[in-house]
């Protein structure tokens, strides 16, 4: 365990999270990039102490720097790269469309939050058959005439 690396990892995660909670897509992106760095560093910390470069001739395996950790870190770097690039394009697009890169509140969620009662619901949901009789046929049989009992009553 290399303590400075662990501390740096924690710092990267803190900074990344702080930026992630911003409104600007660009800053969110910067935050994601920092979180990506943090993850790679976390992998490195998990690999423990440093050894020789991992080349399999000459040195004995036990003294290698953990090669699996390095392979995982490589994958992490590349995927963070791909995601960052995509989000950059998204920020670009957002600017093209709105002239800004702000992540706005979800309008649908806002509407849900504003809705408190079920006034609209009560009108739509009605179960006729139990207390009302069918009156006319609600059957869809041939010539079975009217549609719903509410038309009758």
């Amino acid at each position: 365990m290399i303590l400075v690396l662990a501390l740096a990892t924690a710092a990267l995660f803190s900074a990344g999270t702080y930026l992630l909670l911003q409104r600007r897509l660009t800053r969110i992106l910067l935050g994601l990039a920092l979180l990506g760095h943090g993850s790679v560093l976390a992998l490195l910390v998990a690999g423990g102490r440093t050894g020789e470069p991992a080349f399999s001739d000459g040195s004995t395996p036990a003294r290698f720097s953990d090669p699996l950790v390095q392979a995982l870190a490589l994958t992490a770097i590349v995927i963070t790269f791909a995601v960052t690039v995509f989000l950059l394009a998204l920020a670009n697009r957002s600017w093209e469309l709105t002239g800004d890169d702000e992540v706005e509140d979800d309008a649908e969620d806002r509407r849900v939050a504003a809705r408190t009662g079920v006034e609209t619901l009560g009108e739509h949901f009605e179960i006729a058959p139990d207390e009302r009789e069918f009156g006319h046929s609600t059957d869809t049989g041939p010539g079975g005439g009217t549609r719903a009992s509410r038309e009758v009553r």
Binding site: M1, I2, L3, A6, A8, A10, F13, S14, A15, G16, T17, Y18, L20, L30, H37, L44, V45, A46, G47, G48, T50, E52, A54, S56, D57, F64, S65, P67, L68, Q70, A71, A73, I79, A82, V85, F86, L88, A89, R93, W95, E96, V103, D105, D106, A107, D109, V112, A113, R115, V118, L121, G122, A128, F134, G135, T138, D139, T140, P142, G143
Partner: protein
């Protein structure tokens, strides 16, 4: 049996596809499915009566114990007869019931056939989970069939109500099944019955299973959906909601009763709910004026009787219950069909309006009379025979519960007899006297609305044979079996024997002699006659009792309350703000993991502050850079700070002796910074300053917590050095992967599937980026004009790069780029043994492209079509190489090593990893080119000249 189920599905598919063209003839096309069930049941009958149990098994999800274990018990056979036989008749009936221009008949017939198959699945399945799947399938079919008239509010809402009630019952059933199966260690029904588990978990499971059964079989207080389900076309009411589907709950109680009848709540629940349902259903049945609702409540009452009888679990009562089940299916299906015929002819089902139908439709009236006699349990009908058996069984069972059922049964019989008379009289004769409230209106004919006026009997048309024959057939069967019960006696006995070994000793008798049961039957009929005679006072009494809320209203208010609560919760949680959502998720994660980790936090063995000054310095630079990214308000400067973090990371990798990582990180960071710069030149220079809100505190708390939890995680899990399992990787790397660079061998061979997935991510992201940038989307031009002007803050268009190009740089780049490209190829080929590989090579080549673009902006190194080729082709190459591993029966990504003698070079060793790495190289190179083009603003001029550089 699996073949029969498959046949149902196949027929449903054909019928559903052909439906719209065939009109009502589609029902003939659907006929093979239930017909096959019937014929098959007929061929199996003698075998099963001899005691055989045909089985079939299909493995489905073995890990969950979810297999199609099919098994034909005698009870299953009996149900198969009902499902197949009534199914055939209902389809014939439906072909006469609908008109050719009715839309959606194909869908209707297909759903009906799927339902028949699912119902067979329920009664054949020996696996509780398989039974559950079929059970839910019938609920869904029922929903679709009730809501068949999708333009009617009533039909849709009734369908929804049915689905909500039976569906939630189904969930309870699943929970119950899981509890019981876990305790029993098996999902096999026969194994559970043979070796019944016990304990409080089983008791809870039993209650849940019963909840499923009573919702499906519409017992009080869950009966509300069944009257609503009468909005379905009559064939559905006859088939699903009287003969078969509602019997599924009864069936479940029947097969589980031998195992669980003695478990605490079983008898109180089944008998209590059953008897309450009998009384309530029969009473409501007597009150209704709609023929279909009279029948629906009669069905509810009969289901109550069945559940109570099966739930008791006595020998003779079980035997009688099987008989009642058959009798009810036969007469009730017939009566529903009759209701459909009357409705068909008169366009109404209101007993106050129907008059003179009996004279106009004599055959229908006789059919109805035969079936009604069976329902009223008049001697010489199957209804009478089976009810006698039930009475005798209850008299013989010395239990308090049995006495309760007995008393209720007598009351039920009286009420049912009266309701049946009212039904028949109302449908076919002048009808009962109208209730007092209506006398006023009918006294003045001019005031009565058309909806309440009596029909004109002379205008009734006679039913076609396809309508009448199925109804008449069932009615006649009810009488024939009532006179000669010996015809069905063996089957009923065998079915009862599968539930209770001793039940086979009993017999159905057409007339069992003068005994107490007969006396009870007769007195019930007499009481029924009294009720009929006193129809006027009874109706008045009912009107007075009518006050109070109905099941429908209760259901409605419950549903409204549920939705109101859901709205309130959603409104609170769904603020719509992304930061709030993220903070919620992160804090939850931190709290959960942090709570677990806190006790384990300690400094691991062999810890050091840092191994070298470079490490300490690098870490400090990383932290400083991160602080810069957070604090700097100008976009460009913040991006440069991010670059500083990235390069410091590369330094840390160098200190860690990880050359591949360091190279990759260095190159990736360069490309990322370039990409950022390309985008940021469009955006405003500074982040608008954030107004201080409560949010800022939330951000600080969240980010601080996350950092601490990450540190705790690292401390709690950290070990001393390279973990032991990787040693294995190191030792196999050279011989198996044919390379010395262990990291590269891991990437391209040992864990190459990861790399393939990663490549796919890169390719997808890059193509997505291209779609967002290079390809103009429809409506872009309009948006460009409509966009609010941010001219003052916006940087000049991308041509800025072009203005800065210099001749010196151009010449330098001309000389450098070929070198860079060559070096990248060297890295690619040497990567398996030395630092390098596809990623690094591709990135170096990409860096060459970056240089070239900077020197000569506006001249993209590739046409954008070639970028697709590079990315797609590279991915394809990697995938093909991976797939060659399958050749010769080996595994995916199992790569080979080949050695060729090449003139001048000597022996050249080529491993499968090389072409794989070449694919990686191509994808990465293409990605960098795509970034330069997409984000570099080199839009295709022909599409969007306004933005092109």
């Amino acid at each position: 049996m699996p073949a029969l189920l498959a046949l149902h599905l196949a027929v449903a598919g054909v019928v559903g596809l052909a439906g719209s063209r065939l009109g009502r003839r589609v029902f003939w096309l659907a006929l093979p499915a239930p017909l096959a069930t019937t014929i098959w049941a007929a061929t199996q009958t003698s075998r099963v009566l001899d005691g055989a149990t045909p089985t079939a098994s299909l493995t489905w999800v073995p890990a969950l114990g979810l297999d199609l274990d099919l098994r034909l018990t005698a009870l299953g056979l009996l149900m198969s007869w009902l499902i197949g036989g009534v199914g055939v008749l209902v389809l014939v009936y439906a072909s006469g019931y609908f008109t050719d221009d009715q839309p959606g008949l194909g869908r209707f017939a297909a759903t009906l056939v799927v339902f028949a198959g699912a119902m067979c699945g329920i009664v054949w399945s020996d696996n509780l989970l398989g039974l559950f799947v079929c059970w839910e399938l019938t609920s869904v079919c029922s929903y679709l069939l009730i809501g068949f008239d999708d333009r009617s509010d009533t039909a849709r809402n009734s369908a929804l109500q049915a689905l909500l009630i039976t569906g939630s019952g189904g969930l309870a059933l699943l929970a119950g099944i899981v509890l019981i199966a876990t305790e029993a260690g098996t999902t096999s029904l026969s194994a559970i019955v043979a070796d019944t588990p016990s304990g409080s978990a089983v008791t809870a499971g039993v209650v849940l299973v019963l909840a499923g059964a009573v919702t499906k079989s519409a017992l009080v207080p869950f009966h509300g959906w069944l009257p609503g389900a009468m909005a379905a076309p009559t064939p559905v009411s006859a088939y699903l909601h009287s003969a078969t589907m509602v019997k599924a709950g009864v069936y479940l109680v029947a097969v589980l009763s031998p195992a669980f009848a003695d478990v605490g709540p079983w008898r109180p629940l089944t008998v209590g709910l059953g008897t309450a349902t009998m009384v309530w259903g029969a009473y409501q049945s007597l009150r209704r004026t709609d023929l279909k609702l009279i029948m629906a409540y009669g069905t509810i009452a009969a289901l109550g009787l069945l559940i109570a009888l099966f739930g008791l679990g006595g020998t003779k009562t079980t035997f009688a219950a099987v008989g009642v089940l058959v009798a009810h299916a036969v007469y009730k299906a017939s009566l529903f069909m009759v209701v459909g015929i009357v409705d068909h002819a008169a366009h109404t089902r209101d007993i106050h309006r129907l008059t003179g139908v009996g004279r106009a439709l004599p055959a229908t009236a006789v059919t109805a009379a035969l079936a009604a006699l069976s329902m009223a349990a008049v001697p010489a009908t199957l209804g009478f025979v089976t009810k006698e058996a039930a009475l005798e069984g209850l008299l013989g069972a010395h239990r308090t519960e049995a006495t309760v059922v007995l008393v209720t049964l007598v009351a039920f019989s009286a009420l049912t007899a009266a309701a049946v008379w009212r039904f028949w009289q109302g449908a076919f004769t002048a009808g009962p006297p109208a209730p007092p409230s209506r006398v006023g209106t009918s006294a003045d004919p001019s005031a009565s609305t058309p909806a309440e006026a009596p029909i004109d009997p002379t205008r009734l048309h006679r039913p076609s044979p396809t309508l009448l024959v199925p109804a008449a057939l069932l009615a006649v069967v009810g009488v024939v079996l009532g006179v000669v019960p010996g015809l069905i006696d063996p089957l009923v006995r065998a079915a009862a024997r599968t539930l209770d070994g001793d039940a086979g000793a009993h017999h159905l008798h057409a007339f069992a002699g003068f005994n107490l049961a007969l006396a009870l039957s007769v007195s019930a009929l007499a009481a029924g006659a009294v009720l009929v005679a006193a129809a006027g006072p009874v109706a008045r009494l009912q009107q007075r009792l009518q006050a109070g809320s109905s099941a429908g209203e209760v259901f409605r208010s419950l549903l409204a309350a549920l939705l109101r609560t859901a709205n309130r919760v959603a409104g609170t949680v769904q603020s719509g703000s992304l930061p709030v959502y993220l903070a919620t998720i992160l804090l939850t994660l931190a709290a959960v993991t942090g709570g677990v980790l806190a006790p384990a936090v300690r400094l691991p063995e062999g810890w050091v502050w840092a191994e070298s000054p470079l490490q300490a310095l690098g870490a400090a630079a990383v932290v400083a850079g991160a602080a810069g990214v957070v604090l700097i308000k100008r976009r460009f400067a913040a991006t440069l700070a991010l670059g500083a973090v990235g390069y410091s990371m590369a330094a840390l990798f160098v200190a860690y002796d990880a050359p591949d990582l360091a190279l990759t990180q260095f190159l990736v960071e360069t490309v990322v910074v370039v990409a950022f710069v390309l985008v940021l030149r469009n955006l405003p220079e500074e982040f608008r300053s954030v107004p201080w809100q409560g949010r800022q505190v939330l951000r600080l708390i969240t980010s601080g917590t996350v950092g601490l939890v990450v540190l705790a995680f690292l401390l709690a899990t950290g070990g001393p050095g390279p973990a032991a399992p990787t040693d294995e990787l190191v030792t196999v790397a050279a011989p198996q992967g044919g390379g010395k660079n262990v990291v590269n061998v891991i990437l391209t061979d040992i864990r190459a599937l990861d790399t393939l997935g990663e490549l796919t991510v890169v390719a997808t992201a890059v193509l997505g980026m291209l779609a967002l940038t290079v390809l103009a989307l429809p409506g872009d031009a309009a948006r460009q004009e409509a966009r609010p002007q941010h001219g003052a803050r916006r940087r000049p268009p991308p041509s800025r790069l072009a203005a800065d190009s210099s001749a010196v740089l151009d010449v330098a780049v001309r000389a450098t780029v070929p070198l860079v490209l060559t070096f990248s190829l060297f890295l690619l080929f040497s990567g398996h043994n030395a630092p390098g590989g596809g990623f690094i090579g591709g990135l170096v080549a990409g860096a060459g492209l970056v240089l070239r673009t900077v020197a000569r902006p506006g001249q993209p190194p590739f046409g954008w079509e070639r970028v697709h080729l590079l990315v797609g082709g590279g991915l394809a190459l990697a995938a093909v190489v991976a797939a060659t591993g399958w050749h010769g029966g080996r595994q995916l990504l199992d790569q080979r090593v080949a050695t060729w003698e090449v003139p001048l070079f000597g022996a050249v060793k080529v491993t499968g990893a090389l072409p794989f790495d070449m694919g990686v190289y191509a994808v990465v190179l293409g990605s960098v080119a795509a970034i330069l083009q997409g984000l570099g603003g080199s839009r295709r001029p022909d599409r969007d000249p306004g933005v092109a550089t």
